[in-house]
């Protein structure tokens, strides 16, 4: 159909850049910083300076909606409460833990012997106890999804990873294919779903090759190929493709739960070994990095250290003419100071020299932004409404539905920051409402 | 200066370009427009010509009941010279266009557009000829430069004589309209010429006879001259027999003088044509009767009016002169166009004037009366005949 035509376009993924080197495990940084912020919620600190902490010990609590504990990722001493740069683009208070390199485990970490006996409710409680949140980038507490009242037919593992440059999920799955399927089967039990699907991008034949032989042991789990287009990893898109149903709020309305592949792998450890969410894989890539690669690191590690491990910046990189991007290049955020810490939502850091600044003409009105918008917005109209501060019009134009995939800015032939206009219109709407 | 150019050089440059476009482009577009206007005019002209040609061709085709197709072609050139009427010399007509007429694929006719001459050059007439019957089936006048008041006396009825005009006739003669003799003659020349070309192209044989006039004289024999005005000595027949024949005032064949091989009907017809065209004799005056007992001779002369002038003359007893004054009955009026400047008395003053000149001195060379030329000429001829008649009677020649 012309009005709602197949959206998304192919974007050069540049993924081979960080795929050539194997995943680097860097489990013992000298310091970790546990940010006192999860999603947009501030956390309540429950340790004091000087306290000794073990791996997996609770150091902070999220309260209210999505209440759950946050754990220490190394063993050592709390040495300071300090502001650090966070992936949200702001400085955030964090608990500084000095690593004692003894790898002491909290007593809560033990091998679960009676895995098969765990009830659906037990599994959901385990999610909460482990502080499990979505590792894809949103950081939404996972257990909330499993408390949904709607009957769930299918649990979908999103291994699409459609942001360019990012290979963290890919590397993780290739390292732990079995764990992925285990995690998925536990999710299915937690959701009481009969079916599990692993969605991956068409070109990722490696994932298919490593997972397919294992599927025999996991009845009800299927693989699903999505097209190599952006934003094919968008939750709504995958759910629509797999369930053939549409929804407006949560995927649960369509009888589906979507989890990131990294979350599933962590969940396998949560269930079997009671290890909470304390580490993740991060891609350090971009044309500004000497040896782009993936790191398996405890949460709270300084990205600076990882960049040094990756050979540092390329020679002659002018930082004032380069971007330091937290997250993927399409949806990420430019960080001004390279003093970032790894948190649960940070899948990658991309360092990329800016392209040459060209003078661009005014909006030509080609309408490519409207064509490609996955939620059928007309960004140019939203821009017009925003410029005249017409909140009624912004609302009518559904600006709040924008998921900030960035496609409109990406395709704009006149290099207009149209996605930013929509984001600001959204902001205006929130403030005005 | 440098600063001025730095500040305004670009501005002036652009304005100069604009003016340049305006000027040079203007000249260019004007040139193209003019060029175009010429072409349009030419195209319009040739279009009009083509239109007229198409109309003409259609009119030719309309003459043939069975005609379905017209094809233009170039006919053969035939050189032929004709006498124009009224002693205006000779004229060679030419073919302007020629067309084959087809019924389907069968050629049924031909059209010759002949450029003839009437009073003026440029009397262009198309003659449509039916091949099967060797007949002119109609004419279309393409153009004429005649005096229109005169030309218009050629009526539709007059033109009907061209319909189904058999070429197989010995001598072609078109009825001349009295007021438009020159135009009529032009048509006749055209028709003759068309027949000549047709004969060359289609192998048609123009009927001919072998008869030539050796000499022609007036008949002074009172016994016969009433009907046989002229005597012609001719050579005719395949073996060139010489014979003398009588001809009437209108050059019709009357009879043979003495014995000899009589003329065929065709020869008689041709003789009439060549005799009238020969110019050897004049028929402006002629004898009517002569009474030997009373010596009264009656003569006629054709003046301007259709009714001839009647002159009654009594010869003297010795038959070598005239007794008394001739009696002249004339209906001439001298008030026609040619007499516009005549200043004398009414008729028959001119007639008496001339005959009295003759009677005074017996000299047949008399002076014509100014501005009464036609009447004078007729009377001069009458005097010439009268003098010869008297000479014949007296025997001194």
């Amino acid at each position: 159909m012309i009005i709602h035509k197949a959206k998304g376009i192919w974007i050069d993924g540049k993924k081979t850049m960080s795929k050539t080197l194997p995943m680097h495990e860097y489990l013992n940084p000298p310091f970790v910083y546990i940010p006192l912020l999860q999603q947009a919620s501030p956390l309540k600190r429950i340790v004091e300076i000087g306290d000794k902490v073990a791996i997996g010990q609770t150091v902070a609590l999220r309260e209210g909606f999505g209440a759950m504990p946050i754990h220490a990722s190394v063993s050592g001493t709390v040495t300071a409460i300090k502001k650090v740069w966070h992936a949200s683009g702001r400085m955030v208070e964090a608990i500084e833990i000095q690593n004692d390199f003894q790898n002491r485990m909290d007593e809560s970490i033990h091998v679960q012997t009676d895995v098969s006996l765990l009830s659906r409710n037990d599994l959901v409680i385990k999610m909460q106890q482990a502080g499990l949140s979505g590792l894809g980038g949103a950081g939404f507490p996972t257990y909330i999804k499993y408390q949904a009242k709607c009957p769930i037919d299918v649990v979908i593992i999103n291994a699409v990873e459609c942001e360019p440059y990012l290979t963290c999920d890919y590397m993780l799955i290739n390292s732990y294919p079995e764990k992925l399927l285990k995690g998925l089967s536990y999710f299915m039990r937690a959701a009481d779903a009969k079916k599990g699907v692993v969605a991956f991008k068409a070109y990722n034949t490696h994932i298919k090759e490593s997972l397919e032989p294992l599927l025999l042991n996991y009845p009800g789990i299927e693989l699903y190929e999505v097209k190599d287009i952006y934003p094919a990893g968008w939750e709504k898109y995958i759910v629509q493709k797999i369930t053939k149903k549409s929804y407006s709020g949560l995927p649960a309305e369509a009888g589906a739960i979507v989890d990131n592949s990294a979350t599933a792998i962590v969940f396998a450890d949560v269930v079997e070994k009671n290890i909470p969410l304390i580490s993740r894989v991060i891609t350090i890539s971009g044309e500004g990095i000497k040896n782009p690669q993936n790191f398996y690191v405890p949460l709270g590690t300084l990205v600076k250290e990882l960049i040094l491990l990756a050979g540092g910046y390329i020679e002659g990189l002018d930082p004032t003419k380069a971007w330091y991007i937290a997250g993927g290049p399409m949806t990420g955020r430019a960080i001004l100071i390279d003093d970032l810490i790894v948190n649960d939502t940070l899948g990658s850091v991309i360092v990329k020299p800016m392209p040459e600044e060209l003078k661009h003409p005014a909006c030509l009105g080609c309408g490519k932004c409207a064509d490609l918008c996955p939620v059928y917005l007309t960004p140019t109209e939203i821009q017009r409404a925003f410029e005249s501060k017409d909140t009624k019009a912004i609302k009518e134009l559904n600006a709040q539905k924008c998921m900030q995939c960035g496609l409109c800015s990406y395709v704009c032939p006149s290099h207009i920051e149209i996605a930013d206009y929509v984001a600001r219109a959204k902001e205006l709407l929130r403030k005005g409402a | 200066m440098k600063i001025f150019f730095k500040n305004y050089g670009l501005l002036m440059g652009l304005i100069a370009i604009l003016i340049g476009i305006f000027a040079i482009g203007g000249i260019y577009s004007r040139y193209v427009t003019n060029q175009h206007a010429v072409l349009v005019a030419e195209a319009e002209l040739s279009r009009l010509e083509a239109e007229q040609e198409a109309a003409r061709v259609a009119s030719y085709l309309a003459l043939f009941a069975q005609g379905t197709k017209v094809e233009k072609y170039t006919s053969e050139t035939v050189d032929k010279t004709y006498n124009l009427s009224g002693d205006r010399g000779e004229f060679s007509p030419s073919i302007i266009d020629s067309y084959h007429i087809y019924n389907g694929d069968v050629e049924i006719g031909v059209v010759y557009v002949v450029s003839s001459k009437g009073h003026e050059d440029g009397l262009n007439i198309a003659f449509a000829i039916d091949i099967a019957t060797d007949t002119c089936i109609g004419v279309v006048v393409i153009a004429n430069a005649e005096t229109q008041t005169i030309y218009s006396t050629l009526t539709d009825t007059w033109f009907t004589q061209f319909e189904n005009f058999q070429f197989d006739t010995l001598s072609i003669e078109i009825d001349a309209v009295a007021e438009a003799t020159e135009s009529s003659k032009g048509f006749e020349i055209g028709l003759l010429y068309a027949r000549e070309v047709y004969a060359v192209e289609y192998g048609f044989e123009i009927p001919t006879t072998n008869i030539t006039i050796v000499s022609m004289t007036y008949n002074y024999n009172p016994d016969t001259f009433a009907n046989a005005v002229f005597i012609a000595d001719v050579i005719h027949g395949e073996d060139n027999t010489a014979v003398s024949v009588y001809l009437s005032r209108t050059y019709d064949y009357v009879g043979i003088v003495g014995d000899g091989v009589t003329l065929t009907i065709d020869e008689q017809t041709v003789l009439k044509t060549i005799a009238s065209a020969s110019g050897l004799v004049s028929n402006k005056s002629w004898f009517v009767s002569y009474n030997v007992d009373t010596r009264v001779l009656v003569m006629n002369a054709k003046g301007f009016k259709s009714t001839p002038i009647v002159v009654t003359i009594t010869l003297n007893a010795t038959l070598d002169g005239i007794e008394g004054i001739p009696v002249i009955t004339s209906s001439e009026t001298y008030d026609e166009n040619e007499y516009g400047d005549y200043a004398g008395g009414p008729a028959p003053e001119v007639e008496y004037n001339l005959i009295n000149q003759y009677l005074d001195d017996g000299n047949i060379v008399v002076d014509g009366v100014a501005d009464a030329t036609i009447t004078s000429n007729a009377m001069k001829q009458l005097i010439y005949l009268l003098d010869n008649f008297i000479s014949t009677l007296t025997g001194d020649e």
Partner: protein, 396 residues
Amino acid sequence: MARFANGKAPFLRKTDDLTYGTQVIMRDFLIGLIPLILFAWYKNGIKVYVEGNATLLEMFYPIIFIMLGGLISMVIEGLFFIITDKEVRTLKVMMKKLQLSYAMIPGILLAMILPLYTPIWVLIFGCIMATFVTKLLFGGFGYNIFNPALIGYVAIAFTLMGVINKAGGVLNGSEVLIDAIAGATPLSTLSTTNLLSYQTLVAPYGSLWNFFIGTIPGALAETSALACIISFVWLSARKVIKWFVPVIYIGTVFGLSWLIGIFNGQAGIWFPTFSILSGGLMFGAVFMATEPVTTPKNPLGKIVFALFLGVFTVLFRFIGQYPEGVATSIIFMNIFTMPIDKWTSVIRTQGVTKKTIIKIIILAILIIAIATYALIKANSIYSASIGLPLYIGGWN
């Protein structure tokens, strides 16, 4: 610690690749004009020259005329920049600025829709109207409301058509030399005779094949449907234009004309085919109705816009003073680009809901009403109507 540059997501842009961007779109657009320009040159110059009806200088006139249109527009825009912008003092700066505003396009398009033998000064006037009045006064490239080339065309048509005619400006260079129908375009024949007859509308120009090829009277470069289709394929493939806009526009005209034909007892396919092949419809549909700046930006808006264009074109063909409805309807619809864009954006993003249904109904009623009016109007012109129900016939 290093300080990095700020930026806005996404950090990848398609324009990073220099084979993509507005300048490439405009370059492709200009390439898309080439078939038409070449055909215009062939029809009005080369063919006439080969037939021996023109001199060598005349042969080059069509192509020089079109090129001059572009040049004049650039010069006018350059002058405007020098006067309004203090930074523009050198040729280099000016050329850069001109490059970003695609100055030559209105002039070239305008020259293409003018009759051959239009005097140069008329072209300069048209270019001033197009570039200066319609484009620059509205804020330059991207801000103009009306299609610059069409405004230039209409300004000339309303004020200087007599001059063009007097100068020998005819609508087709070769046609006038062939026969008597000089200057009369097929649609002006329609508006003077009011007869839907193949004999009067199509036969004088040969056959519909001639309409397709473009050897019929008309403006310099707009007559060839074939060249337009070649350009259409190229522009669609290069994603310069949306393929469905010309298709819907032409389809609407085709359908309505078919109905008019049926109502007038001409059930044949020739009349609608004739309708879409004449009056520069193809040219307008491919190059003017898709002009991005002055038409709606979202796809639904483009569809609605094309539908309106279709019905208005048919309507203007039957009520307008000027037989060609294309230019008039496009300019007329340019006014409504903004509201259409706004409404259709809402409809498109919200889908059919209680809030949007009223807008959908209003748009639908408008289109249907105008289409019906056009049918009635056409019907009252052709009194031989038999098809329309009596009650509709009653109120015209």
